[in-house]
Assembly symmetry: C2
Homo-oligomer: 579 residues x 2
């Protein structure tokens, strides 16, 4: 979080003349009033010292034995709320850890504004509270300075985005939260309608269709900081509700969209991470898969696969004959037998047929392929480790690469890797071999590939792109179909009849019939981006009131049963009788 300050300090009010954290040597001698929370009390007999904290920082209060403030300060408990007035003086022993460490307030008047129970964990950056306890008392967890800095950083990221987009002609428009359930994508959260029993609203998974309608309505450039909802099984870090920076533009090419949002990302990183990002490399989906086995490669690490299939198939290695083989070289590195076995397991689990190793240390070479090939004939650049991965499933390349980075605890070459992945496929195969939309069904095909929609759909590229930061997909977007006939061709290819398409997306097809401009856009996952910028390890650390993996808000106790009368009434609205 790099010492960048976003917050200007607390405003004076009748309760205070200054923020605790805003006092410096230059104010020594002044009469100062502060208000805040008692961080700790140190009673040294002749003196009592109290650290008081507000959002701007921490200040040391001091009172001398025999004075009236002395008795009050001694009696304070942790996290009591107090107001103190006195003269600011220079500290005899400065505290270099604190911005206010050269001064202290010699208290003349002090008042207890509220008491506090003893908090269940330490209100410090390093706390002894386990996550469940901290989530239950989230208001105390959020009182920790590190959490306050994280929410300030979050606000600053969003503010910077807003300002940039406004400057570039984007208008912020609010789209509704009570919308219609669409059959695509993840599961919707549903909201029963009381006024129309048996009918439901859905909470939006994204404002996708609404922003396309805004382009059709002529708004030219739209954005919104939008709350989105997905009723998924929350693996790991996923949240039932999340925040998305949702954008859409008209009369633009893909190149112009990428330029616009590259500018946005640079500005955010400059403002909040004090970093000038290099130009963003662009990799096609195919390249990314072949070189890194992932459509979101983490390029802070340079390791990269090279295809060696044609050489491999000339070698007398039986399991190299029928599939593609890829090579990866790690200079100066060696893996233990246990690590090699673990990576082989990962390779197999990801559909690879084999993973073989060669190590060189000085004149010494070892390899799991020693019985098949003459090790001396292999050309190696020096000491290190080489891997041959044989697979037709390229994601195995990514899984092994990831495991190597993790298990060898590799040092990144640079703090930030930001890149574009472009030319995603338009379609992919679903679980039962059927054709499904790789992104969503409104994506515009690559103009060169439109002819092959019917004949060779899996080869059709999309005008779709992702922005990848440090191995995380932070933004995803595409150009959209704006010609109704083309949209209908894609629906048909996805197995939707005209009638079914009308039933599901009637209002979109209608709207496309009334003069849709060429348009496209994207959405940024704000939570994850802020997590990376804050150096946090979990989305829950940068969401003000997060939910657990099972979708519970431990502080509010939500979800919760409702009273029986309300429940019975609800079942009536649901049109239970129709079942």
């Amino acid at each position: 979080m790099g010492g960048v300050a976003y917050f200007c300090g607390v405003e004076p009010t009748s309760y205070r003349t200054h923020g605790c954290g805003n006092l410096r040597l230059s104010q020594v001698g002044q009469t100062i009033r502060v208000a805040g929370w008692v961080r700790r009390v140190r009673d040294l007999g002749r003196f009592v010292f109290v650290d008081v904290r507000d959002r701007s920082g921490i200040l040391q209060l001091v009172a001398l034995e025999g004075t009236q403030p002395y008795e009050i300060l001694r009696s304070l408990g942790r996290e009591w709320v107090i107001q103190a007035e006195g003269i600011l003086q220079q500290r005899e022993s400065p505290n270099p850890e604190l911005p206010t460490g050269e001064v202290e307030l010699r208290v003349e008047k002090v008042q207890v504004l509220n008491t506090s129970n003893t908090p269940p964990f330490l209100i410090e950056d390093e706390t002894d509270g386990q996550e469940e306890l901290r989530l239950r008392y989230r208001y105390l967890d959020l009182r920790r300075p590190i959490q306050q800095r994280r929410l300030e950083l979050r606000a600053e990221v969003i503010r910077t985005c807003r300002e940039y987009l406004r400057r570039r002609g984007f208008l912020e428009v609010e789209t509704p939260m009570l919308i219609r359930s669409t059959p695509e994508g993840a599961r919707d959260f549903l909201v029963p309608s009381r006024l129309k029993p048996g009918s439901f609203y859905a909470l939006p998974q994204s404002p996708q269709l609404l922003k396309q309608l805004l382009m059709i309505a002529g708004y030219d450039r739209y954005f919104q900081v939008a709350r989105c909802f997905r009723d998924e099984d929350y693996r790991g870090d996923r949240q039932a509700e999340f925040t998305q920076l949702d954008c859409e533009m008209s009369f633009v090419t893909q190149a112009e969209i990428l330029e616009t949002f590259e500018g946005l990302v640079r500005e955010v990183h400059r403002k909040v991470a004090d970093t000038d990002l290099e130009d963003f490399p662009r990799l096609t989906y195919t390249e990314a898969m072949q070189r890194y086995g992932s459509d979101k490669p983490d390029l802070r690490y340079s390791l990269e696969w090279t295809e060696v299939t044609s050489w491999a198939q000339t070698q007398p290695v039986p399991f190299w004959q029928s599939r593609r083989t890829f090579w990866l070289w790690l200079p100066e590195k060696k893996a233990s037998r246990k690590q090699q076995e673990a990576w082989q397991t990962i390779a197999k689990e990801n559909g690879a047929s084999s993973l073989a190793f060669i190590h060189q240390e000085g004149a010494h070479r070892t390899s799991s392929l020693a019985k098949f090939i003459a090790l001396d004939e292999i050309q190696l650049p020096g000491d290190g480790m080489g891997l041959w991965l044989t697979t037709d499933k390229l994601s195995a390349l990514g899984a092994v690469r990831q495991a190597i980075i993790h298990d060898l605890n590799l040092t990144p070459d640079k703090p930030w890797s930001v890149l574009w992945i472009v030319d995603f496929p338009l379609f992919e195969e679903g679980e039962n071999g059927e054709l499904v939309a790789a992104h969503h069904p409104f994506v515009h095909p690559h103009p060169e590939d439109i002819d092959r929609i019917e004949t060779d759909p899996l080869s059709v590229r999309a005008l779709a792109y992702d922005l990848v930061i440090n191995g995380n997909e932070i933004m995803s977007g595409s150009l959209r179909c704006h010609i109704p006939e083309l949209q209908m061709r894609i629906f048909r290819r996805l197995g939707l009849s005209e009638a079914e398409a009308r039933e599901k997306f009637g209002f979109l097809l209608d709207a496309l019939g009334y003069g849709a401009p060429p348009h496209g856009g994207c959405a940024f996952g704000i939570d994850r981006w802020v997590m990376l910028l804050a150096g946090a390890r979990s989305l829950r650390e940068v969401i003000p009131f997060p939910k657990t993996a099972s979708g519970a808000d431990l502080m509010l106790g939500a979800p919760a049963p409702i009273d029986p009368q309300q429940h019975a009434e609800l079942l009536r609205w649901l049109g239970q009788e129709s079942i």
Copy 2:
């Protein structure tokens, strides 16, 4: 909307060099490319003229008979999307109605980007479309320039609020949308939980408790542009979802809160309505009720009631003896018999016992009280109309005042009336005579009245305030109870036992026990405020995708039935078996 421009014009892209609305005489002779929608085509034989529209405005295209663009321009239909390039030239007959009215584009190249069906209503500020049709095709309704200006104004109001609040030390924090149902207030929208069958989330009616928790967490000043939800019977203009500017501050007095938000309102009106508002008068609730019969009086009109009970009770008017009588004088005004009768009906419907009139025109006086009192003895300031309203229900004063303003079509004295109402009561009587919270149960009582909570609760004033603009409550707020014991006294007075209070608001009572600072705040109704600023007549005109009075989104077709399998599954999650 007073000629204030917020939007800087459309950015050049490969599709265009300029926005249609941004061209002026100074650019004559330049090669210009624009893209937009065909507003209309006028084929004059030797020339064809086409008005093309984008978000920045309207430009006239022209092509001469015999040129290739001429044939294309002639063939265009309304709302087709085109791209046109040519030389900007001065118009022979300028159109003073349009900012671009002195120029036109002599088209050299034109391309149809998309066609359009004939729209079901005129895409003009003055449209022939009825509201239901316009809501069904909201994307076409929103293409009307007046609607684009309204959404731009909305964005600018919100942006101005954000900037002001940030400058004053407020941090924007997002609170969750899937929260716990609270038994207070209006009806919640409920969201069944799949992972915890039989349990529910509720959509927030406001972030009230969460923002108080943020103050307890030490955030000092918070704001959020928050979507809120109420499952009400939508009388008139109410919307199921609405936008609120939600704010909270710590370590402040009521006076400091009012000063802060008075500054905000002034800044917004200065920026978007080009108006310097006068100082905001402050009326107590009691004064407002006695003088205007309303806690949201519209003071653009000066008419005002004066209590004359003590005089009235000396008069031989039988129905003036047992209740309070109020007097209102309207110089130069006279009401018809029909109007007088209508106002008498309104007075009765609002609980008044009588409404009597006196008119003076020159030497001529008439009154409905002629048989009781000597008309000559009444002192009148000149020609005009006087009313005596006898009532113990002060709201009757307001109802009659409102009817007079409306029926006599009075001219406002000034365009804006902005005032504070303060000293609201803390409690009021509920439908069955029980004590209920007048605002919500977390409001801080007036310090002078705390002693009377138990003994005379209806006389206890609250530290609560409303901001009233042109007769609309635009903002409402209060200081909150931050001392747990005081909060518990109020819960008890509202008939909640400790156990019930814990059950309903346990997390708040817990949190108040861990060092709550003195705090208070408010929420602005953004939709209504923008409606006033835009001079619009309905909230639906300033909400991008509004719902009808019955909660329906006519464009999306929401709410809607879900498929039977999803429905059956939902009933399972609802814990139907427990019924």
